[in-house]
C-alpha cells in the first residue's frame, strides 16, 4: 500500500468531478458519492498507516541486524529525486533515535534512516530543470492522511444533516470533496512546486466554502478577505520556494533541499531569507499574528466548513509545511542553539493575542476561531523552540477536540438558530445532553487537564520551551507565554460553556437535541479527544514498548530531517511543568467559575473604569488590525493610485485623443479651404473656362467667309513654301 498511497487523494478528486456533473440527479444529491469517496480514502489511509508502522518496524529490525558496521556506512538520502524505489534502502539503518539517554546508541545515530516512500514522474522539462510531480510518504504525511480523512469523513456525515435543504447542497459536497483531495495531495507533495500549487488550491476551496452563502454580502466579503490575506502570505511562499530552488542548486525536491540544509550545503543567508519568507506564508495560512484577521471572519461559512478547514486541516497546512521543511527552519533560525527566534516569537504573540480576543466575543464560533488561532500559535511556538514532535502531536490532538467543539457549536446553533451566546443561548444542557457532554469533554481536553489529550500535547510543548534551546535561559520566556495562554484558554472556554449550557435560556422557541448524524460524529471525536493523548506518553510514565509511539512512528528519520544534529533534542517529561500547567488550567476554570456561577469579581468594570473600558475597546476592535489593513494600508494605496490614474486618464489620454481630434479637424479645414476650393475646384473651373475660350477662339475659323478661308490657305501655303525653300 505504501507505494500506492498516491491514489488516496484521487478518490475525493474523482468524487468532486462526479458530484459536479451528476450530483443533482442522484438520490442523495451527491452526498453519497462524497461520503463513499472519503470513506474509501479513510480506509486506505488506515491501511497506509498500518503498512507504515510495519515499514518502520522493518527498518528497526534490519538496522539491528547490521549494527556492527553501522558507523562506517555513509548516510544515504533514500528520497533522491527520480528514484522510484520502495522500501529497500533501510539496510544500513538502525532504529529511530529517541534522543534521551542511551550512549550505546551514539555510534549508530549517524546512520539511522527510515526511508520515506517516494514516487515521481516528470511532468515537463524547461531549461534543464525537471518539473515533476510525485509522492513523498513519510511519518508526518501518513499521520496527516489519517487525520484529514477521518475528520473529513465525520464532517461529511455531519453535513448531510446540517446543510440539508440548502440552496447549494450538491455544490457544497463537491467542494468538500475537492478540498479533501487537495489537502491530501498537499500532505503527499514531493516538491515545493507541488506544495505551492496545492496550497493555493486549498485556499481556493476555502474561499468557495466560506462564501457558500454568498448572496449575503458579509459572507462574500469574508471569503474574499480570507483569500486575499492568504495571498499576501503566499508571496512569501513563492519567494521562499524560488530562493530554495536556487540555493539548493536547482532542485524543487523537498527531501533534497532539506538534506542540503541539514548538512550545511546551503548558505546561511539563503536559509534565513527562505525561512523568513516561508514564515510569512505560515502566518497567513495558519492564522498567526499579524495575518490572522481572516480566520474569525471565515466563521461566516457553514459550521462543518469551519470544523474541517479552519480548525482541523487547512489552517494546519502552514504547520505541516514548516514541519516538512524543518531542516531549512532549524538551520536558518538556529533553532537548536538560540533562546529566541522569529518563529517562536510569532507563535508566542499569537498565543496571547488570540486568547485575549476570545474573551470579548459573543459569537460562539468566533470564540472557537480565536481559540484556534491561539492553539495554532502553540504549534508554531513549539516548532520555534525545536519541539517538532510536540507540535505535530498537538496538531493531531487539536484536530479532534477542536473539530468536536465546532461541530458541537453547530449542533447548538441548529437548535437555537443562532450563534450568539449572550442573546440566544443558555441552559441548553437540559435539552441537549449529548452535545453538552461531548462539548465538556472537548473543552477539558483543550484546556489540558490530565489525562485528556490536550494535557499530553500541550505539556510536551511547554516542556520543550523550558528545556530546549541554547543560552542560559533556553526558551523559558516562551514557557511563561505558554502558561499564560493556558490560563486564558481555560478561562474563556469555561465562559463559553457557562453562557451556552448553564443559566437561563435567553432565546426563543424550543431547542431540542440534534439527530444521530450530528451526534454520532460528536461522540467519535470526543472519544478520540480522550484517548489520542496516549499515543505519545512520555517514557517516564510508560513502558518502552508503549511510550512515545507517535514520535516513534511519525517523526522523520533521515538526512533530510535535522533530528540527527547535535543541536536537536527531544524534551523530557518534567513533572514540575506538567503540574504547573494543570494547576494553572484549573485556576483558570476556577476563576471563570467564580465570575460566572458565583457572580464574584468586578462585574461591570468596563462601565466604571476608563482603563478597563479602553482595554475592552481595543479587544473588541481586534487590536485595530482590520482598520490598519483596510483603511490605512489599502486605502492609502488605492486612493492616491486611483487619483493618479484618473488624472492620467483625463489629462494625458483624453488630451491625446482630443488633440488628435483637433488636429484632424484643422487639417480637414485647411484641405477644404485651400486645396479643395482653390486647387481642385480651380482646376476644374479653369479647364472649363479654357475649353470655353478655346472654343470661342476656334469658332472664328468657321465664319463662313470664303475670303477668310482663302486668307488662311494662302497664308499656310506661304509659310509652308517658305519653310520648304529656306530650310529644305
Amino acid at each position: 500500500m505504501l507505494d500506492h498511497a498516491w491514489i488516496i487523494p484521487l478518490f475525493p478528486a474523482a468524487s468532486f468531478v462526479i458530484i459536479l456533473l451528476f450530483g443533482r440527479r442522484l438520490p442523495s444529491k451527491g452526498s453519497e458519492v462524497g461520503i463513499a469517496a472519503v470513506g474509501i480514502a479513510f480506509a486506505l489511509a488506515l491501511v497506509t498507516n498500518v503498512s507504515w508502522f510495519g515499514h518502520v518496524n522493518d527498518a528497526e529490525h534490519a538496522a539491528g541486524a547490521t549494527e556492527e558496521h553501522a558507523s562506517a556506512v555513509v548516510d544515504q538520502p533514500a528520497g533522491a529525486p527520480g528514484e522510484a524505489a520502495a522500501v529497500a534502502q533501510e539496510g544500513e539503518g538502525t532504529p529511530a533515535v529517541e534522543g534521551e539517554g542511551g550512549e550505546q546508541h551514539a555510534e549508530e545515530e549517524a546512520d539511522a534512516s527510515v526511508a520515506p516512500v517516494t514516487k515521481e514522474v516528470t511532468w515537463f522539462e524547461n531549461g534543464g530543470v525537471d518539473i515533476s510531480v510525485g509522492m513523498l510518504l513519510d511519518g508526518p504525511a501518513v499521520m496527516m492522511l489519517f487525520v484529514v480523512t477521518l475528520v473529513s469523513l465525520l464532517v461529511h456525515v455531519y453535513s448531510t444533516d446540517y446543510v440539508a435543504g440548502d440552496r447549494r447542497y450538491t455544490h457544497f459536497f463537491a467542494f468538500l470533496s475537492l478540498f479533501t483531495a487537495s489537502m491530501l495531495g498537499l500532505v503527499l507533495a514531493k516538491t515545493t512546486l507541488q506544495l505551492l500549487v496545492l496550497w493555493e488550491l486549498v485556499g481556493v476551496c476555502s474561499f468557495v466554502l466560506i462564501g457558500h452563502w454568498w448572496e449575503e454580502k458579509p459572507n462574500s466579503d469574508a471569503a474574499l478577505k480570507a483569500f486575499l490575506t492568504n495571498r499576501v502570505g503566499d508571496v512569501g511562499l513563492i519567494v521562499g520556494v524560488v530562493t530554495l530552488f536556487w540555493a539548493a542548486g536547482g532542485t524543487f525536491d523537498i527531501v533534497e533541499i532539506n538534506t542540503r540544509a541539514v548538512e550545511g550545503g546551503i548558505g546561511q543567508t539563503a536559509l534565513l531569507v527562505a525561512a523568513v519568507s516561508l514564515l510569512a506564508a505560515v502566518m497567513s495560512k495558519s492564522g498567526q499574528f499579524i495575518l490572522h484577521t481572516w480566520l474569525p471572519d471565515a466563521m461566516a461559512g457553514p459550521t462543518p466548513v469551519s470544523a474541517l478547514i479552519h480548525a482541523a486541516t487547512m489552517v494546519v497546512a502552514g504547520i505541516y509545511m514548516v514541519g516538512r521543511m524543518y531542516g531549512v527552519f532549524f538551520q536558518g533560525f538556529h533553532i537548536g542553539v538560540s533562546s529566541v527566534n522569529a518563529l517562536a516569537v510569532v507563535g508566542g504573540i499569537t498565543v496571547i493575542g488570540g486568547a485575549g480576543l476570545a474573551f470579548v466575543q459573543n459569537d460562539i464560533k468566533k470564540v472557537l476561531a480565536y481559540s484556534t488561532v491561539s492553539q495554532l500559535g502553540y504549534m508554531v511556538m513549539a516548532l520555534g523552540v525545536g519541539a517538532w514532535t510536540a507540535a505535530f502531536f498537538h496538531l493531531f490532538t487539536h484536530a479532534f477536540f477542536k473539530a468536536c467543539l465546532f461541530l458541537g457549536s453547530g449542533s447548538v446553533s441548529h437548535a437555537v438558530h443562532s450563534f450568539d451566546m449572550r442573546q440566544d443561548m443558555g441552559g441548553l444542557r437540559r435539552w441537549m445532553p449529548h452535545t453538552y457532554r461531548t462539548f465538556i469533554v472537548a473543552t477539558v481536553a483543550l484546556i489540558g487537564i490530565f489525562p485528556l489529550a490536550g494535557f499530553w500535547s500541550k505539556d510536551e510543548i511547554l516542556a520543550g520551551a523550558s528545556q530546549l534551546g541554547g543560552g542560559d535561559l533556553n526558551y523559558r520566556g516562551f514557557l511563561i507565554v505558554g502558561l499564560v495562554g493556558a490560563f486564558m484558554t481555560a478561562a474563556y472556554m469555561t465562559r463559553v460553556v457557562y453562557l451556552t449550557f448553564f443559566g437561563d435560556f435567553r432565546g426563543h422557541g424550543h431547542p431540542h437535541e440534534s439527530g444521530p448524524r450530528i451526534v454520532v460524529p460528536l461522540y467519535i471525536l470526543a472519544g478520540l479527544a480522550v484517548v489520542a493523548g496516549f499515543a505519545n506518553v512520555p517514557e517516564a510514565l510508560a513502558p518502552e514498548s508503549l511510550a512515545l509511539r507517535f514520535e516513534h512512528y511519525y517523526e522523520p528519520i533521515g538526512s533530510y530531517f535535522p533530528g540527527e544534529l547535535p543541536a536537536f533534542s527531544h524534551p523530557e517529561f518534567s513533572l514540575g511543568v506538567a503540574l504547573t500547567a494543570t494547576l494553572i488550567g484549573l485556576a483558570g476554570i476556577g476563576l471563570a467559575y467564580l465570575w460566572y456561577w458565583r457572580e464574584a469579581g468586578p462585574h461591570g468594570i468596563t462601565q466604571r473604569s476608563t482603563v478597563a473600558r479602553a482595554g475592552y475597546t481595543v479587544l473588541a476592535n481586534k487590536y485595530y488590525f482590520d482598520h490598519l489593513y483596510t483603511d490605512i494600508i489599502a486605502g492609502g494605496i488605492k486612493g492616491p493610485v486611483a487619483r493618479g490614474v484618473y488624472w492620467i486618464n483625463q489629462n494625458v489620454i483624453d488630451g491625446i485623443v482630443d488633440g488628435a481630434g483637433r488636429l484632424s479637424t484643422a487639417v480637414g479645414r485647411f484641405v477644404y479651404t485651400h486645396i479643395d476650393q482653390q486647387v481642385v475646384d480651380g482646376t476644374v473651373i479653369g479647364s472649363a473656362a479654357a475649353a470655353q475660350r478655346g472654343g470661342q477662339a476656334a469658332r472664328q475659323l468657321t465664319s463662313g467667309k470664303v475670303q477668310q478661308y482663302g486668307a488662311l490657305l494662302f497664308g499656310a501655303v506661304a509659310v509652308f513654301a517658305g519653310v520648304l525653300i529656306i530650310f529644305i
Binding site: S703, G704, K705, V706, Q707, F714
Partner: protein, 98 residues
C-alpha cells in the same frame, strides 16, 4: 534676264492675292483672280522662251481659255447672289457659317 519676267509674274501674283483676300466686292475679287492668272501666264511663257519650246505658249493658251470659262461662271454666280441679297458684299455671304 529670265528673272525679271519671273519676278514680274511674282509681283502680279501677290497683288492679285492681296486683292482676292482684301476686297469686299465679289467682282473685284474676280478681277484679282484674273490678275493671278495673267501672272501665271507670264511665268509660263518666260520658261517656254527659256527652253525654246512652244509648250509654254500652248499652256498659256489653255489657261486663257479656262480663265474665260471661269469668269463666265463666276459672274453668273455673282449675278445670282446679287439677285438674292441685292448686294455683292462678300461679308454678307456667310451662310456656310458654323
Amino acid at each position: 534676264m529670265l528673272n525679271q519676267f519671273l519676278l514680274l509674274g511674282a509681283i502680279l501674283f501677290c497683288v492679285g492675292v492681296y486683292g482676292v483676300l482684301a476686297k469686299r466686292s465679289a467682282v473685284l475679287v474676280l478681277m484679282s483672280v484674273e490678275l493671278i492668272l495673267n501672272a501665271v501666264n507670264i511665268n509660263l511663257l518666260a520658261f517656254g522662251a527659256l527652253a525654246g519650246d512652244v509648250t509654254g505658249a500652248v499652256f498659256a493658251l489653255f489657261v486663257i481659255a479656262v480663265a474665260a470659262a471661269e469668269v463666265g461662271v463666276g459672274l453668273a454666280i455673282v449675278l445670282a447672289i446679287y439677285r438674292n441679297s441685292h448686294s455683292v458684299d462678300l461679308n454678307d455671304v456667310d451662310t456656310m457659317k458654323g
